[in-house]
């Protein structure tokens, strides 16, 4: 037994040394090292994989076209399982690898944790989809997607302007910063634009399998629209439990619902008619979107969602900022960070998730929202 153990240890140590050698050889300063962090396994895996794949396509395009100012990009992605602690571990792994710029993280709660680390280490961070305000509270962090408050307000405005519903029920996760952030702003804005919230029901991370009570309350309150500022995993349960109860209001969600069609074993007919606010529609006909969607489908065999698009744009935003700031790969991460911070407020980027995107020094993005509806099992622009 002891012998086996010592052999195993020897092998492990040798392997570790070899890995060490490998990384020192690669750690030249002739490439831009962009790291990515997100959940590629776990309950939010659809997002992480989308970001990883979307960014990969942009990186490949840029490298094929000769790189940024003639410098190639190297891109490495680490899993965080939508867990703050694991995200920090992933960040440390990437730092050891020599990451200079971070495109991540994908989900809000881990992003807030990693934002503290990047701020302390002075590393430039661009989150494709971490939408909490806290993700960008430090001056080194920027967003590609909307902040939660913006999503909440934009949802209320959209519902009011398009008469999607008048009596509204909300089911949100009070233990999640993303969900409660959207809900609070939504409630305030709904009040301002004359929408009536007839039921506001919460659930928590420990209590997220049975939604029949929340749905029954919404039904009793005669809500014709249920607003779901939550992630898709719980939404699948809500849709199937509403179906069992024979309750069929309009369901309206934010970017967290994006990905619901990709859930294994989920009956997509239940999602028919679900609306969601998302800046990206895969069936848009402009050249940039068509190019991205075609490449994504070819390479990964599925239709990209908003997260993939955010990540794709994210890489191009980094490219634009690098070009504006005149950053070169031999700089240290913190030198880069200082130049990039300034450049971010000066650039305007046309991407597939919005035209004329600009950034405030606060890190929040300015662009217009769009809504899509699920029709015949695909996201369709409205």
């Amino acid at each position: 037994m002891k012998k086996i153990l010592s052999i195993v240890l020897t092998v492990a140590m040798t392997a570790a040394m070899l890995v060490g050698c490998g990384s020192t050889e690669q750690a030249g300063s002739d490439v831009f090292k962009i790291g990515g962090i997100g959940p590629i396994t776990g309950g939010a895996a659809v997002y992480g994989n989308a970001v990883k794949n979307g960014a990969q396509i942009a990186v490949d395009e840029i490298n094929e076209a000769g790189g940024i100012n003639g410098v190639q990009i190297e891109y490495q992605f680490e899993d965080d399982e939508h867990d703050a602690e694991k995200a920090v571990n992933a960040y440390n792994t990437l730092s050891d690898w020599g990451m200079q710029l971070l495109l991540g993280t994908v989900t809000s709660a881990p992003c807030v944790a990693v934002a503290e680390k990047t701020y302390a280490d002075s590393v430039y961070q661009l989150t494709p989809s971490g939408s909490s305000v806290d993700c960008v509270k430090n001056d080194n962090a920027f967003q590609v997607c909307f902040t939660d408050p913006n999503q909440g307000a934009a949802s209320a405005d959209y519902i009011a302007q398009n008469n999607v519903g008048s009596k509204i029920a909300v089911i949100y996760d009070s233990s999640d910063v993303y969900s409660s952030g959207i809900y609070e702003k939504f409630a305030a804005e709904a009040d301002a634009v004359g929408l009536e919230i007839v039921a506001a029901e919460a659930f928590t991370a420990d209590n997220k399998t049975d939604f029949t009570t929340q749905l029954t309350k919404a039904k009793q309150a005669e809500a014709d629209l249920v607003f779901l500022p939550i992630y898709y995993a719980e939404a699948t349960l809500i849709l199937s439990q509403a179906n069992t109860l024979g309750y069929a209001p309009t369901f309206f969600g934010c970017d967290g619902l994006d990905g619901i069609l990709a859930v294994e074993n989920f009956d997509v007919s239940l999602a028919e008619g679900v609306m969601l606010l998302t800046p990206f529609a895969a069936d848009a006909k402009d050249d940039a979107t068509v190019n991205f969607v075609t490449k994504y489908e070819e390479k990964f065999g599925e239709t990209p969602n908003q997260f993939a698009a955010d990540a794709y744009d994210g890489v191009y935003i980094i490219k634009a900022a690098i070009e504006k700031a005149g950053v070169t790969p031999d700089m240290s991460a913190s030198e880069m960070c200082d130049l990039m911070k300034k450049a971010m407020t000066e650039i305007t980027v046309d991407g597939i998730t919005g035209e004329g995107m600009t950034w405030e020094a606060t890190g929040e993005v300015n662009k217009g929202p769009k809504a899509v509806v699920i029709k015949n099992g695909v996201y369709t622009a409205m």
């Binding site: 309950g43 420990d206 029954t216 699948t236 069992t244 024979g246």
Partner: protein
């Protein structure tokens, strides 16, 4: 107008009650396993919730990968869980038979994490949507204002059957009598020629077999399956067992159902956010008034 409004209120109350019973029946079936093991072996098997999760995966794999029909899948799950229970008992608990109860408790928590992480390695942490093993249509009452799902009916019926069979088993069979004797006094039972080790192993086997059934029903009622599926219901079911009087088999049923109903009614009428806090407050109050739980036997401490 007021009559209609009143009627609607009654209907919605009935609906909340039924979804509470549905949740409670799942707690009850898990609590049966807890209470049985505690009642006889006098140990809290905190890994019980995770054995349930393994049962859920056993059903999921047999139905989706092997294409077995639901009944066979549940049988596979019972077998897998029983074997797992025996192995856990042999490897982790048996060597600690003479150790302090605290050591066994900590070991149980260790086993719980071990099972979770093992499942994480094998199945990944992606949530899987579970296909229900119950193929009974929901019953619709009062012009569709009230619906009772097939899963709820089956869970409650199965719960009652298990409760009756377990009670009969303990009262009428030799092995059951041996269990009773071991629960009263291990040393005396040993002196009377009862094989205490075997009896405790048998208790674990039965408790884990029940976990196999509970896993299938839990995942059918709330159809997502992750390596953490068993942990929260496991804790709630433990609360239900204590609530009903730990060690008492009918107590587990009553405790589970009550817990589910209280949880759901407080979600409905007080606050959906505070539901868990209210449930645990009720537990504290019950234990202050009646420390042995609702149906718990009062045992005078031997000196």
């Amino acid at each position: 107008m007021t009559r209609i409004a009143g009627r609607e209120k009654v209907m919605s109350f009935l609906n909340y009650l039924i979804s509470g019973l549905s949740l409670g029946s799942v707690y009850a079936i898990i609590a049966l396993g807890y209470t049985m093991v505690y009642g006889i072996a006098k140990m809290l098997n905190f890994a019980h919730g995770d054995v349930i999760m393994v049962g859920g995966f056993a059903v999921y794999m047999s139905m989706n990968a092997l294409g077995l029909n639901p009944i066979l899948a549940v049988i596979v799950s019972i077998i897998v869980c029983t074997v797992l229970g025996i192995v856990i008992e042999k490897v982790a608990y048996k060597p600690l038979r003479k150790a302090t109860p605290l050591a066994v408790l900590i070991t149980a928590i260790g086993v719980s994490y071990f099972l979770q992480n093992l499942a994480l390695l094998i199945f990944g942490s992606d949530a899987k949507l579970f296909t229900s093993v119950v193929n009974i249509k929901a019953i619709s009452l009062a012009n569709g204002q009230i619906t009772i799902t097939g899963e709820t009916i089956v869970t409650i019926v199965v719960c009652i059957i298990i409760m009756v069979v377990l009670s009969l088993f303990i009262k009428k069979t030799k092995a059951g009598q041996a269990m009773l004797a071991v629960s009263e006094d291990k040393e005396a039972a040993e002196l009377m020629g009862i094989n205490v080790n075997k009896t405790i192993s048998l208790t674990f086997a039965i408790g884990s077999g029940l976990a196999g059934i509970a896993g299938a029903l839990l995942c059918s009622a709330y159809p997502t399956l992750t390596p953490y599926t068993g942990s929260m219901p496991g804790i709630k079911a433990f609360v239900a067992a204590v609530f009903g009087g730990i060690g008492s088999i009918p107590g587990a049923l009553i405790g589970g159902l009550l817990l589910g109903v209280i949880e759901n009614l407080s979600k409905a009428y007080i606050s959906s956010q505070m539901a868990d806090a209210i449930v645990f407050s009720v537990l504290i109050i019950v234990l202050l008034v009646k420390p042995t739980g609702l149906l718990g036997k009062k045992i005078s401490e031997k000196v």
